[in-house]
């Protein structure tokens, strides 16, 4: 098989399939990660003390352990927990789903792992953004008769969103690349496909080089979108220079 044919017949179709799988993992993980980050970040910045402690614990666990370990725990570790639960709940006459739900498919395990890890990092950016808002902004809102929730939606959220955008975007770009870890739980996404082809045809250079270009394209697309969003939300004097 000549090189050209290898590209058009084998490598590119396979990588396109892998790309689709990657996108299916990245998009929900990024969206849910931001959602969790916003909730956890707001809770850590402004929540009651017990909530802060719970959320701080979440962040320190998920930021403090390797993502590979987390991912393999979700996929390979949880079935063990499920079996243990089953040995207790089964004899009690409970239906099987009360422990079977812990056995995750590779796809669900990946999305759960990436979402929770990403959310922990996102919450740090959101928390920082909320804490950086000057006290006077809240005082002004109070003096105009804003309730706490009106202040949150009219002042805190729009300002924090702009301040956090840089960091959150950065985290999404990281996520695009660490989504490749999904190959460890048997998912045939971009890197998984590339890995298989490279060893089957013994052409690692071409395979990995082209895979790198695919990731570069994904990241460029995300960067472009984030720049567009930044420019749309840009407010003079809020520390975001016009780019792009």
């Amino acid at each position: 098989m000549d090189t050209w044919e290898f590209y058009t017949e084998k490598l590119i179709p396979a990588l396109n399939e892998g790309l689709w799988m990657s996108v299916l993992i990245i998009v929900p993980s990024a969206a849910l990660g931001v959602l969790i980050g916003v909730l956890a970040g707001a809770g850590r910045a402004a929540g009651p003390p017990w909530l802060r402690r719970v959320l701080d614990l979440y962040v320190s666990v998920f930021r403090g352990t390797p993502l590979v370990v987390q991912l393999t725990m979700w996929y390979y570790g949880l079935p063990g927990v499920s079996r243990f639960l089953g040995s207790i709940l089964g004899p009690m006459g409970l239906p099987e789903f009360t422990w079977r739900f812990l056995v995750l498919s590779p796809y669900v395990a990946s999305v759960v792992a990436f979402t929770l890890c990403s959310g922990a990092y996102q919450s740090e950016y959101i928390r920082g953004a909320i804490l950086s808002i000057r006290k006077g902004q809240f005082q002004a809102a109070k003096s105009l008769g804003f309730t706490d929730s009106q202040t949150f939606w009219s002042i805190t959220a729009p300002v924090a969103m702009r301040r956090a955008l840089h960091g959150c975007g950065n985290e999404i770009i990281y996520l695009i690349k660490y989504s490749s870890l999904a190959l460890l739980v048997t998912i045939q996404e971009l890197t998984g496909k590339s890995n298989a082809l490279a060893s089957f045809y013994f052409r690692p250079l071409e395979c990995y080089l082209l895979t790198a270009l695919y990731y570069l394209a994904l990241v460029s697309l995300a960067t472009f979108f984030l720049r567009w969003l930044e420019n749309r939300l840009r407010v003079p004097g809020m520390g975001m220079a016009k780019t792009g």
Partner: protein, 262 residues
């Protein structure tokens, strides 16, 4: 600038518009306000002066219930802030406007949106009406042409005028001003004082912390001199400043020696 006729502020016959009764406030273990009482009739303009740390700003914030006093009460048209309870404190604050030393405009909103947002969110005025009202208020402070600019694009004096427009749009019964010109460059002070003088002539009830005695003496009904959390002197500016033995007069003459302010 012409002063209001002495001794007969409008509405003086009825109960006071605002009455602060025996306000006590402790911050960080220190007694900042020590049993302070103060009242304003409708249309009156009073000034608080005194050395820094004497509790002037804290008193304004307690009158507004931005800080909840540890003791005492504030009555606005006879309605007690303490009795309103925690839930209605927002409704109480809405009736009072506050101008801050460092403006505190909302950084992410244009001048016009700064004025309109409380109308829309707090008073639930429809968007178009709120925007029209905001333009009207900006016109009154001479900034209609800056409506689309963000705070970072405005000078200090313009920011403070927008913040006055923002407070006025809520139609407050009482306006509190916390050193509204002390963060401004000297050449920008005049434009803000002009707007404040216009409010006074329009009959707005106001309580202002200021060191601009030259401005205040012709316009206000009463000077209250604060020291160590108490009001130790109060009286008509001409009377207080004419009495060389008064604490107010010595403080003000030292102030004008130091800064050249009159």
């Amino acid at each position: 600038m012409t002063g209001r006729p002495e001794g007969s502020p409008p509405g003086a016959a009825g109960p006071p518009l605002m009455e602060a009764r025996n306000i006590t406030k402790i911050l960080g273990g220190k007694l900042i306000l020590d049993d302070v009482s103060l009242s304003l009739n409708r249309g009156e303009f009073k000034v608080l002066i005194g050395p820094s740390g004497s509790g002037k700003s804290t008193l304004l914030q307690c009158v507004h219930f931005l800080l909840i006093p540890d003791g005492g009460d504030v009555l606005l048209e006879g309605a007690s802030a303490v009795e309103m309870g925690h839930k209605n404190v927002c409704a109480f604050r809405r009736e009072i406007g506050m101008i801050f030393q460092d403006f505190n405009l909302f950084d992410h909103l244009t001048a016009r949106d700064n004025v309109a947002i409380a109308l829309r969110k707090v008073k639930k005025v429809p968007k178009a009406a709120a925007m029209a009202r905001a333009m009207g208020e900006l016109e009154r402070v001479g900034l209609a042409d800056k409506a689309g600019l963000y705070p970072a694009q405005l000078s200090g004096g313009q920011k403070q005028r927008v913040s006055i427009a923002r407070a006025m749009a809520m139609e407050p019964k009482l306006m509190l001003l916390d050193e509204p010109t002390s963060a401004l460059d000297p050449e920008l002070i005049g434009e803000v004082l002009n707007v404040i003088a216009n409010l006074a002539r329009g009959g707005m009830t106001m309580l202002m912390v200021t060191h601009q005695i030259g401005f205040a003496r012709h316009l206000v009904n009463e000077i209250n001199f604060m020291e160590d959390g108490r009001i130790i002197e109060r009286g008509h500016p001409e009377a207080l400043l004419a009495d060389p033995a008064s604490r107010t007069a010595t403080f003000c003459s030292r102030l004008s020696e130091l800064t050249g302010n009159q």
